[in-house]
Amino acid sequence: MTAEHAGRGPLDRDELARVVAADIPAGAYVNLGIGLPTVVGDHLPAGRGITLHTENGMLGMGPAATGDDIDPDLTNAGKLPVTETPGASYFHHADSFALMRGGHLDVCVLGAFQVSAGGDLANWHTGEPGAIPAVGGAMDLAIGARAVFVMMPLFARDGTPKVVEKCTYPLTGLACVSRVYTDHAVFTVDADGLRVRDTYGLTLAELRDRVGLPLRE
């Protein structure tokens, strides 16, 4: 059953982050990708025992560092200064990626250019001529985390949906996305394709019309 929240506008950035944050299970180990997913960290409920991993080599990452707490040796995957929480640990890159690729993270949250109905992810490269590619840990997270949450606007600037039948951007991983959180709808992904869990600012019928894909309710 889809929950339609049509009598309101689409989710703003913080509202979207709160929806994602609310879906992260208590006690989970979580990696928040660079960019939009970082905002989720500001909305994780206290006391739920959620531990943040940063792939440059730390579990138990705390909030962004400010003022005197800024330490150039303590940064997140976006190379911004962060803090440590009690119970944190540091490890080298091979250990950090073993943790990611070995299936030990409960959830990762990633931005995306496109997600296909089958859960394929495209988030590392526009593929445009002259664009300099950069992949970082995106492919490792895509295949490694037990649940891959994507967080993105539902529509590109030109209005085309970013949830697609088949990705046209270069892929990051195959059939790896579990859920897609967007400003206009939350989707779950399984072997049968996309199901709409929530809509925001439009009805399911309107969503189907604008996305143009089979969307189960």
Binding site: G27, I50, L59, G60, P86, G87, A98, L99, R101
Partner: protein
């Protein structure tokens, strides 16, 4: 996440018959004797055990074997001066042995924990332990293809834990513990002490708490 701190019997109460159990230790150093004793009392049968040795004397791993609960063991060095329990079971055909070179035992468990599907390793090329394994020449050197060893549960011994399950070890008792913790679905660590989260320096944590499900203070 706060790690579950429990007693030894509760910590192994859900190990099912037929489970694969990774058991830490090199000889008696790092052997989680109290957890093994609890597993023996629990009585799960048809176990596959992965451990460097096959027990010494009549206690710990040797007692688990003597109780007839272990169907198969993967180890590198079963034969020791006081491994008479294993020796008897093996000669009587009551336990299967898969002999694994020590480095492969460690690296195959690391592979399981790290998401590696298989790896090419030079150890054992041209020896009887190469039988049945794929061989490949890479850059002029011969390698054998080795596959991961995964556990349903790992029983390990560490020195101290903190409240989120981070572990530090003591001297050469560290041995297989950190690797086994990554390779099992459920990891149980016996420790001498649990300190609050923040009580271990983040720089010196050897096993991050993400790999530790239950802690038992002995």
């Amino acid at each position: 996440m706060s790690v579950a701190v429990t007693d030894a019997d509760a910590a192994v109460a859900d190990v099912p018959d037929g489970a694969t159990v990774l058991i830490g230790g090199f000889g008696s150093a790092g052997q989680p004797v109290e957890l093994i004793d609890a597993l023996r009392r629990h009585g799960a049968r048809d176990l596959t055990v992965v451990s460097n040795n096959a027990g010494n004397g009549d206690t710990g791993l040797a007692a688990l074997l003597a109780a007839g609960l272990v169907r198969r063991i993967l180890c590198s060095y079963p034969r020791q001066s006081d491994s008479y329990v294993f020796d008897r079971l093996y000669r009587d055909g009551r336990i299967e042995l898969e002999l694994v070179p020590q480095g492969n035992l460690a690296e195959r468990m690391r592979a399981a924990g790290a998401g590696i599907g298989a790896f090419y390793c030079p150890t054992g090329v041209g020896t009887p332990l190469a039988e049945g394994k794929e061989q490949r020449t890479i850059d002029g050197r011969d390698y054998l293809l080795e596959f991961p060893i995964r556990g349903d549960v790992a029983l390990i011994k560490a020195y101290r834990a903190d409240g989120v399950g981070n572990l530090v070890y003591r001297k050469t008792a560290r041995n297989f513990g950190p690797v086994m913790a990554t390779a099992a679905t459920t990891t149980v660590a016996q420790v001498t002490e649990v300190v609050p989260a923040g009580g271990l320096d983040p720089e010196v944590v050897v096993t991050p708490g993400i790999y530790v499900d239950r802690v038992v203070v002995v």
